[in-house]
Symmetry: C2
Subunit: 143 residues, 2 copies
DNA sequence: CTTATTAGTTTACAACTGTAGTCACAATAA
DNA sequence: TTATTGTGACTACAGTTGTAAACTAATAAG
């Protein structure tokens, strides 16, 4: 999974990011407790993940003195968009439509979300091509 | 990334699956050539990936004699749906809507795809909740 | 000040991934 | 029947990921 800066964020790291994003900012203690409750991780595990996230510059350490505060460097929305794009990049372009359909069906969406999607689709319909080409192999073919 | 049988398919393996799905069935030679052209991989690499996919039962070996034929065991559509669901499971439920919106905007969709999505959304609108709850941390909060 | 506690840093280590070389055996050509 | 070659099996190996123990430095408590 890629984040907003196109760095790979692993699954476990993603869990930590979620917590940090939701809390806005947190001390390591808060994160350790949250991760322990959410995933049952030991303190060390959360510390390691936090260190790796700092290395990847997905999280930054703030405050000069000891109980440091950790804040996200990459945004949640952008990171999710990047991860989703990364996923769809690995799929056949022809299948994107039905995959999105599946996602929409299996997720809960608010009225506002739905209205928003409808607006986007209406706009997109104006310039939509009749067919989308398969891009799995070199040369044209239908997958 | 998870496949239709909820087995983890790695990025490289996914490339091979795409080729197999598109070809429908293929000999190792055909796959080796395709992968070499697509990704520049050596024959060994493709063989290894193929072996791992067989182990994971995502691909099966057919035909009793030597140039075997390889066929997908898991379907493309289902695997893509599983991978997409897997991704969205790692994200805050509140953000699914805007993430889907981003995907729709960045992908090419055919007229038929769009019509299909519109139909699904219209149906879903009937029972949509006003708000979707954040599910990032234990206890309610807004992320 | 000394001690206890908490927070941060180093080290560990097995499993999984990406990438590929080598070996062995079956099919084919000579 | 033997030599050749295409294909499948086994081995390799460094880097990444998940998970965590141990060690060290900074505070807080007494």
């Amino acid at each position: 999974m890629k984040d907003a800066k196109n760095v790979t964020i692993t699954d476990s790291e993603w869990m930590v990011m979620r917590a940090i994003w939701t809390m806005g900012h947190a001390t390591s203690r808060e994160l350790i407790d949250a991760m322990n409750e959410l995933e049952g991780w030991s303190a060390s595990t959360t510390k390691t993940l936090l260190r790796r996230l700092i290395q990847k510059q997905a999280v930054a350490q703030h405050g000069g003195s000891r109980p440091f505060t950790y804040k996200p460097v990459v945004g949640e929305k952008e990171s999710m968009a990047a991860a989703a794009d990364d996923l769809f990049d690995h799929m056949c372009a022809m299948r994107a439509g039905s995959t999105i359909a599946g996602v929409i069906q299996s997720r809960e969406l608010s009225r506002a979300d739905i209205a928003n999607l409808q607006a986007i689709l209406a706009e997109k319909a104006k310039t939509a091509p009749e067919e989308v080409q398969c891009n799995c192999l070199p040369g044209d073919q239908t997958c």
